[in-house]
Symmetry: C2
Subunit: 217 residues, 2 copies
Amino acid sequence: MSTKVITIDTQILKKNDIAAQENRDIFKQHRILAINLLSSPGSGKTSLLVKTCSALKEKLRVAVSVGDLQTEADALRIAGAGVPVVQINTGTACHLDAHMVQLSLKVLPLAATDILFIENVGNLVCPAEFKVGEDMKMMVLSIAEGHDKPLKYPLMFRESSALVLNKMDLLPYMNTDMNKVRNDSLALNPKLKIFEVSCTSGAGIDAWATWLSGFRS
Amino acid sequence: MSTKVITIDTQILKKNDIAAQENRDIFKQHRILAINLLSSPGSGKTSLLVKTCSALKEKLRVAVSVGDLQTEADALRIAGAGVPVVQINTGTACHLDAHMVQLSLKVLPLAATDILFIENVGNLVCPAEFKVGEDMKMMVLSIAEGHDKPLKYPLMFRESSALVLNKMDLLPYMNTDMNKVRNDSLALNPKLKIFEVSCTSGAGIDAWATWLSGFRS
């Protein structure tokens, strides 16, 4: 059985990589910076995007593709920030693949987009394995998830260019060892850029948004 | 492509179901209550098991199989509660399947076990799709994950017999709408038994442990 599974996984990943390259060509043609945003369920990806889109939209043209198994709740929240957004419902799939993202590109105003955020399905495992044509992966970790996540889910930390530590306002009420989070993350990925934010208080959002806008200024 | 993928998924699930039935037979033979414990990463499954094993072990013989991509950190924490535990490292797999659980049964003291907890990989999607031979699925949701999770990940809420709302000590610092969590969960699954606990303060653990022990008394 295992041989068969591996073969099929390879096929799926190969077909995905072809579609990812097509997406990459589309992003290049329109000079779009594409960011694949990853995290556990409930880390605050959507809250971060609402704050980030609000902070960036005066300077840059931002759009969002957002993946969820069901509901358009996240798209409605992001639309409130006044940016174009498409909800992708994956049904039972635990990650976005390049084909799903390609469908969303057909309805977004690509010629009027500088940065596209692709908010993946909440999952610390499979979304790290499927390229969707992005320039960079970035991840969000709620500090309420605990300090053991880098060592337990190493691929996502290795694959990401930035780590946003969210819900920093909860730190006084948690046992989370922030030095362990930072040290274990950097041991896996020495180039990882780490931000500390609170989407509730707004702390840290400006530094994160300024860093992001540097890629397109 | 989609036809091929669906065919393979079916094969995988069919082979998994055969192994799940074998596990079920093993549990029946040894009169073991097997509970498949599911949640997002960082909801507190391991903390809950440490507290639960401590509360139950004077009355019942408890054992644990715990799944993670990497590390034996969770097994070491659970072993601290003085119960037999096996760590299953799944590598890149985002869920436990029945074969993986079957491997752990070969090294656990089955003849001396009343309740086996199977702590799944942290993931709100795929673990709900793979039976491992369990009598019941139960899930943990950290209230720091937000009130939108039932509608966004409905299968897990439908499949679970109990929902443990953890990190209740954080409620004063959160915007989580607990009525929405409860109402949306019960709309998906009217028979769902809901517990509110804090593994940090210990609140609610006794009621949960007493309910669990009722299945084997």
